[in-house]
Symmetry: D2
């Protein structure tokens, strides 16, 4: 196979981004003690130190080992411990048991990161082939996904603790005396044949391609997310106790797990509080509701007489409204979390103001679409081909991005996905209706 050297400028840009992304992971872990970084509170959650090691293993396994001549792995045992789910790479430590490992500890993992960072920096300095550049790009996007997972997971770890500790003390941004709330309105669309998916050359996950066309009927999507205030109405109207609002699997799940409110909501004597990364605080009716499962989102829209948008509908309207995505400022939405945002306080979805429609930066938005391949989908070759395609059953697509999604990681064509009972991601919803 002939390979092409990547553009030197691209390579140098990649080297800079490598440093930025990698150091942000360390910044996210900085407020956490060794004990915090060790605990796993449910099978879906991974310990912080595991995330730090696994993202490092990704670069070591898919970039350094095959492409860096003379590279020696940091510790041969790490391949077993820090492989997540790549069957092609070999056996691995079972996911639900990640919290049973006290060794390697955070100090060893910090050393592992430093060693791989140093090797990568030298490697990137020397220039690289275009296809290896693609792997590095994939690795950086992969690490950004784990940055979000790290925050989701540590939120669960801290909220499981009866002491209800905060990840960082929440110092909210100074707000205006009288913020102008974004007004909810129905954004109509006439339907017809629309394009979906990414067509150009930029980085995207394989599941966003190929770009193709879909036929839509007339519909409307709301300009704002469903709020906690609306959710409280649903609850007050018996939403969690009326089987006619739920599908069969939904209802069984609600009954089995005893759900009566979104995850992280706690009923106290004086009303509902919500556990945030900044600790507990009263539920704010103006905020977007967060940490609801697809099952709950589906019941909510049935109760309201609405429906969830399909992912095509979401992408079509979001493209129009944001003028190109999350970088476009209002109404595209906040850009997600970065070091500056982290310094301002714990990430949390805030009420929509000043016309911001929150397509990005607040919560992920459940769609009606089961997660599956686009027509003509082909997974990437090799082990990294296990990245997305192998999850295309029993999940639903979420669109947009959340307050814990790293800045620069969002796209209009981005397809996030979770099982319909999941509540630990930052998941909310935006309603749609037929016209």
């Amino acid at each position: 196979m002939t390979t092409t050297a990547a553009d030197p400028e691209v390579a140098e840009g990649l080297r800079a981004r490598f440093r930025t992304v990698r150091s942000f992971t360390e910044a996210l872990a900085a407020p956490l003690s060794p004990e915090d970084q060790t605990v796993q509170t449910m099978p879906d959650v991974s310990p912080t130190k595991w995330h730090r090691a696994h993202t490092t293993w990704f670069f070591e396994t898919f970039v350094l080992t095959p492409h860096r001549s003379g590279y020696e792995v940091f510790d041969p045992a790490y391949g077993f411990l820090f492989n997540s789910y790549y069957e092609a790479v070999g056996p691995r430590h079972a996911r639900p048991q990640r919290g049973l490992l006290s060794r390697p500890g955070v100090a060893e993992i910090a050393a592992y990161r430093a060693a791989v960072d140093e090797a990568m920096d030298s490697f990137l300095e020397e220039g690289l082939d275009a296809d290896v550049a693609g792997l590095v790009e994939l690795g950086l996007n992969h690490e950004q996904q784990h940055q979000e997972l790290l925050l989701m997971d540590i939120k669960h770890v801290l909220a499981t603790n009866p002491l209800r500790p905060a990840y960082v003390d929440c110092v909210g941004p100074a707000t205006d005396a009288a913020p102008v709330r974004t007004a909810p309105q129905w954004i109509p669309h006439a339907g017809g044949i629309v394009p979906v998916g990414l067509g150009g050359d930029g980085f995207a996950f394989d599941n966003e391609r190929p770009r193709h066309e879909v036929l839509l009927r007339p519909f409307a999507v709301r300009s704002t997310l469903v709020t906690c205030g609306e959710w409280l109405e649903f609850m007050a109207d018996g939403g969690y106790r009326r089987p006619e609002l739920w599908m069969s699997d939904d209802w069984a799940t609600v009954q089995t797990r005893g759900w009566d409110a979104p995850a992280y909501w706690v009923h106290e004597d004086d009303g509902w509080t919500v556990q945030t990364l900044g600790g507990p605080r009263p539920v704010d009716p103006a905020e977007p509701v967060c940490h609801v499962s697809w099952y709950e989102a589906d019941a909510f829209v049935r109760w309201a007489g609405w429906r969830l948008p399909t992912e095509t509908e979401w992408e079509t309207v979001a493209t129009e409204r944001t003028g190109g995505g999350p970088d476009g400022g209002v109404p595209g939405g906040a850009a997600g979390i970065d070091p500056a945002a982290l310094r301002r306080g714990a990430p949390h979805p805030v009420a929509a103001v000043d016309g911001d429609e929150q397509w990005f930066g607040a919560t992920w938005q459940w769609t009606a679409s089961p997660y599956g391949p686009y027509p003509g989908f082909r997974p990437a070759a090799g082990a990294v081909g296990e990245y997305n395609g192998k999850f295309m059953v029993n999940q639903h697509v979420l669109r947009g991005g959340a307050c814990v999604t790293p800045a620069g990681h969002s796209r209009l064509t981005y397809r996030n996905f979770y099982a319909p009972a999941s509540r630990w991601p930052f998941t909310g919803l935006r309603p749609a209706v037929d016209r």
Copy 2:
């Protein structure tokens, strides 16, 4: 609400069909002892006597009680025992515990059927409103579904028994000395906008409507089902042991349940046998493979380099090929089971011959489509609205019909659905490819 009297001819036709359908249920139960009719071998399976009672309860609850003046329920306790899943009708006996009930016994259930049949016959004789006629029609289609379930379930009950008894002795039809096998070919389609779903006035389940348009890309579907011979090749090539062929949930299921062949296949010293409703017999490579889950179907087509068709693709090509559905003779396929077929022997999917493409009458065919609502779907009003809509998550659509589907019950727009791990329905597959 003003109601319209049904056409007397329609009403009389309904009365005749009522007798025919109800008596076929009894014919299906006739070979079974009281003990056979009592057992439940897994949560999905219901006892035969439960099917006989539940279908009767349907007419009693949705037709006689609300619409027949002066009707008194046969036994008030039956409402609790024989409600399947209608939340709106009230609490009910738990599904996995249906096999724990020895009472009412088969004799009492026969008396229940006779009493309701008599009341229904008088009721239908007097003529009826059009909307009530719709409920009777729904009840008959419901009972036909349970006729198929009865056969699926008793197959599981008998196959679970180490004695491997037969439901009826299998006397296959006399075949030609040299049957002409149907040749597999790829049936191409150019794509474009196609209609899907039922548009006219005839009976259909609510999930088949509304008729709407879908945009397709060019593709081809195969004229024949995947055979046992092809499946044996898949197995011989390590199909059940190679994780790269399976999605993540698939692989976990295969590992957990120890699958290494379709359900009902047993490895004996001299090769594979298959348990049929006529008892065990050697696997015939020419027959369509049956009792494979969606997970297995998905792995198989990945292995073969094909894919599953979407339900739209299936419906589009099947409509063209069958000239209107299962009643059209070859290549539409056998019409399904009826009293005459039952007398000929145990139902079992047979090899395709003489150009029969088996769109109907052999096995249900998994599609790539997760089961969801059509655009603009509205469930029927009232408790019968729980019929289909409440299952529109975590299932995949199957199209066509099987050798155990009652004659007259199939349609080109029919949407069957099961969870992707299900293997006890008569499920097979028909491959597709992009063009």
Copy 3:
């Protein structure tokens, strides 16, 4: 090995007893439909038709096959289906799946019983060796145990049914206008060295031997069983909700299973009813409490300031009071169930009257003694050696006998045993105190 012919009179007596015991099993099954005889409502419960077949298999396997020349087994598959737990005899059908088998049905099992009965009758008519006579004797005692199990199990089957049917209509015996209740009193014992276990030649299970001596401290045992009235006081005093009354495993069990009353008690609007083999009826405060676990018995005596007697204490006092066991009339207690008793109505523990102390014939009585081997215990040789010894851990000993214990099956040295959470046997308690 030289064997000795059994005394002809003994042999003839055995032949008569064989007929009596075997026909009583059939009498116990007679009120039950084929459906009733098929169902298994929990892993501990076996279907009636299984009991009928398993007891037959015992004679076929341990008597006819090895000792009757030319005997051919009725059906080779039955050895797999009807072996209960004899590892030495070979593999067997799993216990929790006995209710999944509809075949062989009750008619085939009746034929099996008839064939084995006929072969046994001829065999016994010809006279037999002493050691074979011992196996027949063991088989008859084994069948009597299953007669009690059959009643315990069908009680569970029928009580699980929401219709709450009766096994037989309960026609209680005519009672005096004013029955004289047995007065509770503490029967003192001075302690010292006492004998325990069976010393003579009569039939006994291996676990009753060898007779040995035990040193006792002074104690007293109560002349009457704990009554439902006393149990209602325990409940009213928060017995099921006060952790200090329960040991650690006890309390976990109570919490997990949600116990708040004895098994088969149901709280209705107007008080507690108890499901009996004769159907539901109000709880009678004068009756002995029944269907309580060892955990509950232990909590009850802790609440009352008493304790459970050891099995040695029970045997010592019972021997004195009954003048030799259950055949001694009052105060030895009712002799257990027989055809005449069954004709009078459903067996149920009744209030103690006229000085009957109910050492036998009402309920089994939990003791403080974990079930273990007597000093010098040796299990019988061969497969029948698996009869008792293999259960000598995690169980507690019960003494006496219940209203469902067959007449002639009880002994002062009899050691019944169940796991401490068991509630489906007819289990009650008799308190003791230190002196």
Copy 4:
């Protein structure tokens, strides 16, 4: 209640012992990182930092809070987090979830220990009542039990890790060139009435009292523990695969858990290794077998033609042989672990030499006795009465002491107890026979 001041010398001795015992806990935790101290690898295991906090909570709750005027609890939340099982003290954090708590971390727990130690030291300096002295004494014995649990638990934590790290590097003591192994011999006893339990005034747990008499038959107990070499013979003879050697519950456990060797044994290419607190090393046939369950011990002695001794038999012979217990030097056995022993290397049961019969200091020894109350047993009053009595069901008694039992904590009358499937304590066995 009138209380008596404790003897000043006793009080001062208690103060010194308090410091010694408490600081040894810290010495045991010293080799462990914060991560190590956080992990819980199964429900039975508690994190090291939990042990450190719970033992501190014991002194705070039972001594300082009720008896030290003006004492303020360190943190009110700790009462919920660090209560183990005292129902009388209030609700508590669930045991299986101890490993889900990252906070409080090891630094906070060290501060908690220091604060309570300081308060206790002042309190003890001022003298104290005799009954409070008893509570302090109980607290010190309680902490010694947790020192052993800490070592058992961390062994499990480290052995679960695929890296198989050591707790401390094992530096065995210098041994003679040719150690003289202790010769196995059967120590006979003539039987008769013997005393059991503690009669005098010294400290003992409530379950060791009252002293009482038991009648024994003639028997013999072996002078040495069962060795790894003997266990390898059992394994080679199919010990784990022959159902006739196991009781019913035993066999089910072996099958379910897939046991084929003692816990911590790993089969490598070149034979069996054992994971120790000093890391993995080859199994030494001369060492006592350790980490076997009661089920395995029971099967082993059945295989060998022996039996387990009762706890009375053990106590009777041990008393004779050791001349008064573990302080008596050889043949009483090593005194258990202390700071000096810890400095010499990881604790591990070593081969018996020079006539040491290892009644103490190697492994705990399973007895045939189910754990129950002695005749006349009365639990201590108040919450500390939950200490032993509430576990008197479904457990078996172990006697002696192990290499991880703290020095000074063993007694001839000491009754340790575990469920019969437990393998994570340091459990071995010493055989007995009838004579």
